[in-house]
């Protein structure tokens, strides 16, 4: 464990990462990068121009007294340089902030659209693909825009050091300037051991500590943290995780004393040699006072060639870039061909058929479905009953095309689902999942997302209102302060938080919105788990009306829901063990009948009392 947290091959990859990041930045924003570069170079070079002018002033004054003429010009020049410096320095922040934000946005959006373009759920459910996605997503944690601030800082320092070197070369000797430059750059490289300061090198190892911190600070855990009295336990763990990782990190960052001393000695020695030459040149009259003034400022200025300012930010921004690029390439390779696919509009007209479907999640042992055969006639409703873990939700994922069968096929009116355009099929399917999404956006968006293509059209408002009405959520929305435009999260101005039952109605309205927009298949995965009795009864009172003309698949633990379906199948360990209407299954005296009777008995006993 001791040395596993800090990547050892980090050094090698860094140079490549920096090049890749810079290339990406320059390609995405060529004009803005040029502007940022120019700002940085000016900012770095102006002090040297200033030094030259001061040298000239000293030279003019040390000569024979000649009135103010020449000096006035030099003074004006100094004034101009200072104004330019002030201008550059006040322009630096806006230029940098603009590019910083744009680059951040660019990279984040690239990652987002790469993930969004991946059609199925493999990126999330297959361990290997999921870990590649995690690695690429790390880019956001480290603030990709920092590359920009880092580069501008770095460029300014380098330009300053280089310009100072030119001063030394011009006034003393080019070879000494060269030796000094090499020395400073080398010093910068050696001292750079502290590149382990950059986030990517330690944020990841610190994730556990960060998790403990979140447990203590975030509302999700707040209740149980207090109920079980584990606050101190969590705090203690946070401290220990942090200390352990940081101890390693501090060890890795250590720079040996000896190299430091040698380096310092070398720098002092070379400078002593240089000033000896300076003194000699002055004494033999080869160096004027003006040149001396320029030279001394140049010597001081060259030190910024060793500057490490900005390095940390550059690393923060650059290190994760290769992961992102690799992730994009990988997804492009895996993307299925779409040219020969057919649209799925107006399907299904006859049926949806599972034909010998086999499926298992990668990384988990055994198949969830071995040879599943199931025909779902179009325009009818089907309820699926089964114990937890029987594969009900997976069945919905297969049917919607979010997952592909490993074996067998799913046929829509005889056409293999694989041969249909995914987006076009998605448009035929409306669904509410057990773990439906609670978008921290407005009601309009929460419902309108059911038919994303229609959102910008004016008629969407009518459809949204109708979907809300049918989901039994109209009263709820009427009571909201901003109506349809109320954000459903208190984290946004004017927003409100909804209860679980209210959210469920909104999610149902979203699925019904898809129906309004033309979806012909409705999948309901535990659509009433969070509704109270009355709301549930109300919804199922209208079940027939809601599902009329649709191919409906409903999963529920509640018999009030299930029994209203035209047909019920009982799923057990990936197989269909019973199939029929409520009456038929009750009469068949199988699993379904047993579960139903047991529940019913509990209510019947009551009506006696």
């Amino acid at each position: 464990m001791a040395d596993s947290t800090i990547p050892t091959e980090a050094r090698r990859g860094r140079a490549y990462a920096r090049r890749a990041a810079l290339a990406l930045l320059a390609r995405a924003f060529p004009g803005r990068v040029a502007l940022a570069g120019a700002t940085a170079l000016l900012g770095g070079a102006l002090p040297s121009v200033f030094a030259v002018l001061v040298g000239r002033l000293v030279g003019e004054l040390s000569g024979p007294a000649t009135g103010w003429g020449a000096a006035t010009g030099t003074l004006a020049g100094i004034g101009a340089v200072l104004v330019a410096t002030a201008l550059v320095s006040s322009a630096t922040y806006p230029v940098q902030a603009d590019l910083y934000r744009r680059f951040d946005e660019h990279l984040t959006a690239r990652l987002m659209s790469a993930v969004l373009r991946a059609p199925g759920l493999g990126l999330f459910e297959d361990p290997e693909m999921s870990s590649r996605r995690d690695a690429a997503a790390a880019i956001v944690r480290f603030g990709p825009g920092e590359l920009v601030s880092g580069l501008m800082t770095k460029w300014t320092a380098q330009a300053g050091g280089f310009a100072a070197g030119v001063l030394v070369a011009a006034t003393l000797s080019p070879s000494i300037a060269l030796v000094l430059a090499v020395l400073w750059v080398a010093a910068g490289q050696i001292l750079q051991a502290s590149y382990y300061r950059a986030n990517p090198f330690w944020t990841d190892p610190l994730r556990r500590a960060g998790y403990m911190r979140r447990l203590g600070l975030m509302p999700e855990w707040a209740k149980e943290l207090r109920i079980f009295g584990i606050s101190d336990w969590v705090i203690d763990r946070f401290g220990r995780e942090w200390t352990q990782v940081m101890a390693e990190l501090w060890q890795a960052r250590r720079v040996g004393r000896l190299p430091l001393l040698i380096l310092a000695g070398l720098i002092v020695a070379v400078h002593l040699g240089a000033v000896a030459l300076v003194v000699h040149s002055i004494l033999v009259g080869a160096l004027s006072l003006g040149a001396l003034t320029v030279l001394v400022q140049g010597l001081f200025g060259m030190a910024s060639l060793a500057s490490q300012d900005g390095d940390v930010w550059v690393e923060n921004g650059a290190v994760p870039i290769p992961d992102l690029l690799g992730f994009e390439r990988g997804l492009d390779r895996d993307r299925p061909r779409t040219a020969s696919l057919r649209p799925a509009s107006a399907l299904p007209r006859r049926e949806i058929r599972f034909e010998g479907v086999g499926f298992g999640y990668p990384g988990s042992s055994g198949l969830l479905f071995d040879r599943l055969d199931l025909t779902i006639p179009a325009g009818r409703s089907l309820a699926i009953v089964g114990l937890n873990g029987a594969g009900k939700t997976t069945l919905i994922k297969l049917l919607t095309g979010l997952r592909r069968p490993d074996r067998g096929r799913i046929a829509i009116d005889g056409e293999d689902l694989r041969e249909l355009e995914p987006e076009s099929w998605y448009r035929q399917v409306a669904a509410i999942f057990q773990d439906f999404q609670r978008y921290a956006l407005t009601v309009r968006e929460n419902v309108g997302f059911g038919a994303a293509e229609m959102m910008e059209r004016p008629e969407s408002e009518v459809l949204i209102r109708r979907a809300l009405e049918r989901a039994g959520a109209r009263d709820l929305v009427d009571r909201l302060p901003l109506g349809l435009d109320t954000p459903l999260s208190r984290r946004f101005a004017g927003g409100v938080d909804l209860s679980g039952g209210q959210w469920q109605r909104i999610a149902l309205a979203r699925a019904l919105m898809a129906v309004e927009a033309g979806a012909r298949v409705l999948c309901l995965d535990e659509p009433t788990a969070q509704l109270d009795v009355r709301a549930e009864a109300d919804l199922y009172g209208r079940f027939l009306e809601l599902t009329r003309g649709l191919t409906t698949i409903v999963i529920s633990h509640r018999f009030s829901t299930v029994r209203r379906a035209d047909r019920i199948v009982v799923l057990d360990r990936g197989r269909i063990v019973e199939d029929g209407s409520h009456q038929e299954l009750v009469a068949a005296a199988g699993t379904y009948a047993r579960l139903f009777r047991r529940q019913a008995a509990r209510y019947e006993a009551a009506s006696d009392g």
Partner: protein, 599 residues
């Protein structure tokens, strides 16, 4: 939306220095020493230049040589100091930052109620502080930078005065920069606050696009375009705010700089005039030109670090504010009061009302009810009736706004909440997901038994959750959560583990079950509740334990000794199943509605 943190500047400053100092006193001292030296070396550079020029003009070779050596040394030493200071700063930053996070964690996690999590004002402060916590790490470094600037200003002033005391007027031209600094500082803070909501939105949308939670819907509903559009809009808003603020701040800074440049040019002209009139040497001009040029960067640097100090102070004020909340939350607790070993009579709620901060209506209104020791109590009601609020009040997670809760006559508000909670247990529908090894995820329900596998297995069996563990590759040792290379569970499986956690405490006085079985089928729920009722029957003799269950399933509810029916925050009916059915009220109506599915 989030206002200035409501805490005094003085208290914020004191807490900042204290925190920063206790993070690492030794390094703080080293930083002060190093920075002082750094300031000295940097300020004397112009002096060496002047001495060299003077030495040349006066033909004093020794002075020339000494000054030249001083230059060589100060370049080498200066570089070394720069390196050392930056290392010390980083080290300080990391330690202080950690210390602040630790203190914040302590303040929040040890707050006995959910006050910080439910009050938007508190949440706002907490979120901002979270975002700013890095600035804390710079508390000492920024103070040290201020110190460094002061040293350099003094040395520079002394050197300039040696040319002519008139030059001491120069810093006056830096006054605008100094005075405008708080304005630009506020500008940047406003920028952050103005863009906070858009930033939050961008993060949300990123999560939607790349997270697993929304993956199914995002694909099925074809949300790629809407999400990316909104993401770009949110980002554009953030960017425009920041760039706008940057341009305005830059313009203010530029104006201040121009004023200074005037003063600077005056200083050089003055020095040149004195050379021309023979009152000063050429070296003095070089000294003035170089030093006076530094005054500007000194002032802007000083201003910059003042702004840092200001921002750190703001973060500190938030910190003080949150610790105050935590402190107030403990007020009224009588540490001497002991939680009874067993319940003899029961828990009585008298005229209990509770209203969420910023809500316009009470969630519970004037609730009078008695929960007898040893009973099982069921709570029913429609969404939003106040069921969960009642559970949280009983757990001491909320304090009633009015009325009192008495446990065998003891006021719950005065009992130490931690001691009370040692004697209760709870499971919620919105259970927490603790991504540890299963052993710990369940075991933390009773910290004393966290490593005891037998106790954990027994709790899982009581929760009918042992089937979750059986197929796991490493059994109780299996890590949960793919983020840690572990296993992902389904919602129902997580819920079962949460139930197991609640079952870790074997002799609670009060067991709170807030729809913990919503994702579990009715049959299993029924059997679980039946077995808990049996267990409660045994505990009844021992501790007088009360079990309180919130459920929508009336087949389970009807088994309870006492059923409470809530409607819009009021208790509208109570009694046994038979009594309530006889009454023909809301309970009977809802019951019949549900039972209809089985006829």
């Amino acid at each position: 939306m989030v206002e200035q943190p409501p805490a005094s500047r003085l208290r914020a400053a004191v807490s900042m220095v204290r925190l920063a100092w206790s993070g690492d006193p030794r390094r703080s001292l080293i930083a002060v020493g190093l920075t002082g030296l750094q300031a000295l070396v940097a300020s004397l550079f112009a002096l060496w230049l002047k001495l060299m020029i003077d030495g040349v003009q006066a033909h004093r070779t020794l002075e020339l040589v000494l000054a030249a050596v001083a230059i060589a040394l100060s370049i080498g030493v200066g570089a070394g100091l720069d390196f050392a200071t930056s290392r010390v700063r980083v080290a300080l930053n990391e330690r202080v930052h950690h210390l602040v996070e630790l203190r914040l964690l302590e303040a929040v996690a040890r707050t006995p109620t959910l006050a910080i999590h439910e009050n938007p004002a508190h949440i706002g402060q907490l979120e901002m502080l979270e975002a700013e916590s890095w600035e804390f790490g710079d508390a000492i470094p920024s103070l040290v930078t201020v110190l460094q600037s002061v040293i350099r200003v003094i040395i520079t002033a002394l050197l300039l005065a040696s040319v002519t005391p008139l030059l001491l007027l120069l810093p006056l031209f830096g006054l605008p920069a100094l005075l405008l600094s708080p304005i630009t500082g506020d500008l940047f803070n406003r920028g952050n606050e103005l863009s906070a909501e858009a930033s939050r939105r961008a993060v949300d949308l990123f999560e939607l696009a790349t997270g697993e939670a929304a993956a199914k819907e995002v694909r099925l509903f074809r949300l790629a375009r809407p999400i990316l559009d909104r993401f770009h809009r949110a980002h554009a808003q953030v960017r425009e705010t920041h760039v706008g603020v940057g341009i305005r701040g830059g313009a203010i800074g530029l104006a201040a700089d121009l004023v200074f440049i005037l003063g600077y040019l005056g200083a050089i002209v003055l020095a040149v005039a004195r050379v021309r009139s023979g009152q000063a040497g050429v070296g003095d001009v070089a000294l003035t030109a170089v030093l006076a040029g530094q005054v500007l960067s000194l002032i802007t640097g000083f201003v910059g670090s003042l702004q840092w100090v200001q921002r750190t102070m703001r973060a500190c004020a938030r910190f003080v504010y949150l610790t105050d909340v935590a402190e107030t939350d403990r007020a009224g607790v009588d540490a001497g009061l002991r939680v009874p070993e067993r319940l003899r009579r029961g828990i009585r709620l008298e005229a209990v009302s509770y209203r969420y901060p910023t809500a316009e209506e009470d969630s519970l209104r004037s609730l009078d009810v008695f929960l007898p020791a040893g009973s099982t109590v069921a709570v029913v009601g429609e969404n939003g009736a106040g069921k969960s609020t009642l559970v949280k009040l009983l757990a001491g997670l909320y304090r009633p706004n009015a009325g009192s809760i008495r446990v065998d006559g003891l006021d719950l508000a005065r009992l130490d909440p931690e001691r009370w909670r040692e004697r209760i247990s709870a499971a919620f529908q919105d259970h927490a997901r603790f991504e540890f090894a299963v052993r710990e995820t369940v075991g933390i329900g009773s910290l004393d038994a966290v490593g005891d596998e037998d106790a954990v297995m027994a709790a899982l069996r009581r929760a009918a959750a042992d089937d979750v563990v059986r197929p796991l590759p490493l059994g109780l040792g299996t890590q949960l959560g793919s983020a840690w290379g572990g296993i992902d569970l389904s919602g129902g499986q997580w819920q079962k583990l949460a139930l197991g956690r609640a079952m870790m405490r074997t002799e609670p006085l009060l067991l709170l079950l807030d729809e913990p079985t919503a994702a579990i089928d009715a049959d299993t729920e029924h059997r679980l509740f039946a077995s808990w009722t049996d267990a409660a029957g045994e505990l009844r003799e021992l501790t007088g334990a009360i079990t309180l269950l919130v459920s929508h399933r009336f087949s389970t509810v009807r088994m309870a000794d006492l059923i409470l029916v809530l409607r819009r925050g009021r208790l509208v009916e109570q009694g046994t199943h038979e009594e309530l059915m006889g009454k023909g009220g809301l309970y009977a109506e809802l019951y019949t509605l549900q039972a209809a599915a089985y006829r």
